[in-house]
């Protein structure tokens, strides 16, 4: 290629961007008022409300198109003096912490309101006030313990199904594989539902929670699919076979899912719903035993897998601990949604991998074992979910 043609290519690549920049500058430029119609309204969003000793703390974000000042705070629509840190002026997307000295009562609902400089009041309702958790060593250990009970132990127990699965005929084996697909599919839908719920209740509209969930799910799916294909290609000639890779991907997928479960438990404890979280813990423990089964199913035809299994059990189970920490101490709707969507995307990838892997061997997709297995898997999960 000659020097001048390279130059031409470079120009043709850059020219549209330059022109677009000029257009934007022209539209936004100071002298161009011709596009200014309509009224821009300030908007803030109360992301998080914490109840501390004689104080209510509100994390507020400017989610509107223009700068705002937060000028009045109220509790149950009664004006209260407050402090705002670092200051009451919020630029786009900036957050501030509003501290309202207030002797609140435990278990009582509160509506917290903030008024902006144009006199508009924004409100968030807390169903029941409970003291926010302050991270200390004891609580960190407590959450780690919960994570172990919910994540690691049940998954490990589930792994003990290995000898049973090894003895199965091909049809029965496929049935159980399909059963795990059913379980996983349900978990993915469950994660998505949870993500949508958080997006609806805790995330400002500006952040397009729904689109974010879809985007992260799809990205995770393709990302993991890419990585796992690389992994399988790389290990083609080694002793680790496709079943191990698939099993590993199942473990990773479930790991993300358990992170989400940890978040749910941590957040429930953090919000003071201790009774609810005890129930959550028992429910997740039962539920997660079936996840061990999903990890172990692809491995049934492989030999000497005990150390690998243990590693996979940890990969799948440990994230529950991190989830509980994040959920309990640093709950942010934004990160929760992202983790849950990653979990869903990871599970979809696992399901596709299992189906593609089995299809190579026989007519799996339209077989009785698959139909029955998936149905039963979904049904079992639905029943257990009712009790959680």
């Amino acid at each position: 290629m000659s020097q001048s043609s390279k130059y031409k290519i470079a120009v043709s690549a850059v020219a549209p961007i330059v022109l677009l920049t000029v257009l934007i500058v022209f539209i936004l430029g100071s002298g161009s008022s011709f596009l200014q119609f309509g009224t821009v309204l300030p908007e803030i969003y109360l992301e998080k409300i914490d109840f501390i000793d004689s104080e209510i703390q509100v994390t507020v974000r400017n989610t509107g198109p223009i700068d705002v000042n937060v000028v009045v705070a109220d509790v149950n629509d009664r004006i209260q003096p407050a402090a705002i840190e670092p200051d009451n002026h919020l630029t786009r997307f900036e957050t501030a912490l509003v501290r309202i000295p207030y002797d609140w009562n435990e278990g009582q609902p509160y509506a917290i309101g903030l008024t902006t400089n144009d006199g508009t009041r924004f409100e968030k309702v807390v169903d029941a006030a409970f003291p926010s958790l302050q991270p200390d060593v004891e609580l960190v250990g407590y959450f780690a313990l919960i994570g172990t009970y919910v994540g690691i132990i049940p998954v490990m127990i589930g792994l003990l199904w290995l000898p049973f699965i090894k003895k199965l005929s091909k049809n029965k084996y496929q049935f159980f594989l399909a059963f795990t697909i059913g379980l996983l599919l349900f978990l993915a839908l469950d994660s998505l539902e949870e993500a949508f719920e958080i997006s609806q209740n805790n995330l400002a509209d500006t952040f397009n929670g729904t689109l974010l969930i879809g985007m992260v799910t799809i990205l995770t799916f393709f990302g993991l699919y890419f990585v796992s294909t690389q992994l399988i290609n790389k290990t083609k000639f080694s002793k680790i076979s496709a079943p191990v890779s698939i099993s590993l991907m199942v473990a990773i997928g479930i790991g993300f899912h358990n992170l989400g479960e940890g978040l749910a438990i941590g957040a429930a404890v953090g919000l003071g719903n201790l009774a609810l979280s005890t129930f959550l813990i028992v429910g997740f423990a039962i539920h997660n035993t079936t996840e061990g089964f999903a990890i172990v199913a692809p491995l049934s035809k492989t030999k000497s897998v005990i150390p690998k299994l243990a590693a996979m059990g940890l990969i799948a189970g440990t994230p529950a601990i991190f989830g509980a920490w994040i959920g309990g101490f640093f709950f942010s709707p934004f990160s929760a949604i992202i983790f849950l969507a990653i979990g869903a995307g990871a599970i979809f990838q696992v399901i596709i991998s299992i189906i593609l892997w089995q299809r190579r061997e026989n007519n799996f997709l339209s077989s009785w074992p698959l139909m029955l297995g998936i149905s039963l898997g979904l049904f079992v999960m639905y029943i257990t979910s009712i009790f959680i």
Binding site: E55, N69, V71, V72, P81, A83, I84, P86, T95
Partner: protein, 353 residues
Amino acid sequence: MRSQSTKMLAVLLVIFAVSTLYFIFPTITVAQEEPKTFLTHTGLMIKTTGEVIDPIGYNGEPLEFNPDKFLRDFDYGIVTELDDGTILREFTITARDDQIMEVSPGVFYNVWTFNGSVPGPTIRATEGDLIQIHFINEGSKSHTMHFHGVHKAEMDGVFENVGPGGKFTYEFYADPVGLHLYHCHVHPVEEHIAHGLYGAYIVDPKEPREPADELVFVLNGLDTDFDGENNFYAANTIPFYYKHHPIQISTNQLVRAYVVNILEFDAVNNFHLHGTLFHHFPAGTDSVPSGFNDMLTMSQGDRQILEFEYEYPGLYMFHAHVTEFSEKGWVSSFLVKEQNEVKSDLIGNEPVI
């Protein structure tokens, strides 16, 4: 080739992760300043490095509208004596609807005004005076002035809308004696009143009332987000104003309060006085008080003249006993001092002529 694509993937992931972090933790860097201690009116205390937003204990720059000045400010008009001995009082009142006013510290609201303020001037005359109001509408909408009291139908300010740029002269005799009010009566009336087009109108008896420290309280509210509910309540517009600026009166001095309720959206308002009781005169039309009380309940448009004295010096609250209103601004206080301590120029608003 593979390592390249892996690198690309890694770069993409890093970019994604960093941009996510930015959104989650945009305020990670907070300058550490010396914390200041902040004590609330309820006695709670916090230390903060940030700003204090406290309309209740506000001690910052004064706002544009000064309730202290309004409190004892009476507009007697330009006075001329007609040939037949009648006193003519001429007032020029201009309506506007484009002002943005700071109604509570940091809260900016589009007020509609008579002579540039909410409430409009307190118009005061003596029974039988001829009142001429030269009304000029400098607003962008139609406005009128509707006075309560006795007058001809065409002076009622209801059917003769004054368009933008228009003028109208209202003429009537001050009648009857009492405490009345005026407000814009253009449809939708609720909107025109809620934005601030109202004021007090006092007709004194020919035989003057007993000298007193005379105060005007126009009880009003502000629906700053237009949801049909008041965000703020007040005596004389600015929420909590007389809470952080107590009104100075003196012991054993007759105080006469002209109380007008022009609150929109809430059917009932009231007035509760601490530390003493008042005699009250509904609409101020009778010379005999209709009660001796510390509570007064008033519906929309109701007025009452209150007369009271304090025996003991000190800080006394007066506020709406609809506690919601008081906790949203309609809470005030009197600082009662021994008689010789109070500046004499604050006492006794004798009518001229």
